[in-house]
């Protein structure tokens, strides 16, 4: 079952059917930009308190893993909700996104659980490798956004 996009208001229709570069720009500015903004704010606070040692201070407690998870879920929502003529690609990207969401959820739960129970958590791993995971998540999420959409919403 599907709903025609004609029923939507003009702005919603424009965002869904916008050309791919524009959809990417909207995604980068409002999706990725707003997701990464808290890191800059945390960096400012750390710097202001005189505790700044490295840029990785801002993501040493799993922040980038959490950001990756939210971006992946948002992109997966965009992929799943709208119909596309590339059903196989959609299925593939759903599986890969699901896997990455699962990995990020497990990592964040592990880190957060250790932090609140005052146990040793994998800070070095997060400092050095979570940016790489963020890049992988970003690649996956961007492909989900880039996939051409049809003019209807799947139900």
């Amino acid at each position: 079952m599907s709903y025609k996009i004609d029923k939507l208001d003009r702005h919603s229709r424009f965002v869904i059917l916008a050309p791919m570069p524009l959809r990417l720009l909207i995604w980068l500015v409002f999706g990725v930009g707003s997701a990464v903004l808290p890191l800059f704010l945390a960096g400012l606070i750390i710097f202001d308190r005189g505790l700044f040692t490295a840029v990785s201070d801002t993501w040493s407690r799993g922040e980038l893993v959490l950001i990756s998870m939210t971006l992946l879920i948002a992109a997966l929502g965009d992929l799943v909700v709208y119909a596309t003529e590339f059903a196989k690609v959609k299925a593939l990207m759903t599986v890969t996104s699901g896997f990455l969401i699962l990995v990020s959820a497990v990592w964040y739960m592990d880190v957060f659980g250790n932090i609140i129970s005052h146990q040793q958590f994998k800070e070095d791993f997060l400092r050095h490798w979570s940016p790489l995971f963020f890049i992988f998540a970003l690649i996956n999420a961007t492909v989900c956004i880039m996939l051409p959409k049809k003019d209807r919403i799947e139900q």
């Binding site: 990455l100 791993f125 790489l132 995971f133 992988f136």
Partner: protein, 40 residues
Amino acid sequence: MNLVLLIVSGVVSIAGAIVAVVAVHRASAQPERRNRAAHI
């Protein structure tokens, strides 16, 4: 274990992206090819 998960995530993500981009590119190139053949 963490590094293994990271590597698997990277492989899954990049392979998925390459497959998706190639599939979409091929599908969008097909009508052009068909049009060109019809024109010739």
